[in-house]
């Protein structure tokens, strides 16, 4: 593989340190907007969960505990492989970066496959907003189902975008555009991927682990 020369610093930056700082501040500002994006759904969730606790518990029990738990482990593992990829490219190891990104993407696809099997099961049980619900599904429980699809769907959309970005990273890496000095795309993508992991860490107990209260 040919090694492209490190692009020179854009005129806006005095030195590499300033550019790195700008990258991080920009990315964390974006993540803050994402926190609020998901935050609106979490707010709706909390209000309706407090209003209809029994219906939300019943809705939660239509989901598979094991699918949620395994998917959490899958996503945490994909965060580790992404963090390792960042370490490797900072050491200039492009082959290890490629392996890490492929592992992360594979785990992301596994997560989405498990999620798709859950969506399919919901479809088979007639628990999909827009299709007629069966009579045993009370309107408050329909709210839970709606929030389940809105929250996991928005999360899955972020995962799909992440998979696209990883294809871009692999391409950059293949063309020798990622080096120890030029690792910002990997580091910034890592922040995005770990954030998506964090969102799931909260979705898991809130959607899958609602206790039935006597």
């Amino acid at each position: 593989m040919n090694t492209a020369p490190t692009p020179s610093l854009p005129a806006a930056y005095g030195d590499k340190r300033q550019r790195d700082l700008a990258n991080h501040l920009g990315m964390w500002t974006f993540i803050a907007t994402e926190v609020l994006f998901f935050g609106g759904l979490f707010l709706a969730y909390f209000i309706y969960r407090i209003t209809y606790p029994a219906a939300f518990a019943a809705g939660s029990h239509t989901l598979s505990f094991w699918r949620g738990t395994i998917n959490t482990a899958v996503l945490i593992t994909s965060s580790l492989t992404m963090a390792l990829g960042d370490v490797y490219i900072k050491r200039g190891n492009r082959a290890a970066l490629r392996n890490c990104v492929i592992a992360t993407a594979s785990l992301g696809i596994l997560f989405l496959a498990i999620k798709a099997s859950e969506y399919h099961e919901m479809y088979a049980k007639h628990l999909v907003p827009g299709l007629p619900f069966d009579s045993w599904v009370s309107p408050p429980m329909q709210l839970f189902v709606f929030l389940y699809f809105a929250m996991t769907g928005l999360h899955a959309a972020h995962m799909l975008i992440g998979l696209g970005l990883m294809a871009w990273l692999l391409r950059l890496n293949q063309h020798g555009r990622l080096t120890a000095a030029q690792h910002a795309p990997v580091e910034m993508f890592g922040l995005y991927w770990h954030f998506v992991d964090c969102v799931w860490v909260f979705l898991y107990p809130l959607l899958y682990l609602i206790p039935v209260l006597k």
Partner: protein, 95 residues
């Protein structure tokens, strides 16, 4: 940048800690704690998010201003949740 470099053994240790916390969450669902189950699992979720942000996202190695930006996201989330909840939970007071 005074960025602290990440060590692979530390990242793996954080990963194992995250898996332990996940196991703890899953096991805690079997405990007879009733209403407390959700607060307990949310506290564990915050612990997981703290580990992910500090180590995987390397916030601990960043200059203070980056950490302030990260905290600002949570602060605005708090405004969203607390102000909205203060409306929702006080509506009955007006009769």
């Amino acid at each position: 940048m005074t960025e602290r470099t990440q060590s692979i053994p530390r990242l793996v240790a954080v990963y194992l800690a995250l898996l332990c916390l996940l196991t703890l969450t899953a096991v805690s669902t079997a405990l007879p704690v009733g209403w407390w189950a959700t607060p307990i699992s949310l506290v564990i979720a915050f612990a997981k998010a703290f580990l992910i942000a500090n180590f995987f996202m390397n916030l601990r190695g960043q200059p203070g201003i980056v950490r302030v930006f990260a905290a600002a996201g949570l602060f605005w989330l708090l405004i969203l949740l607390v102000l909205s909840a203060s409306d929702f939970f006080t509506r009955a007071w007006l009769g």
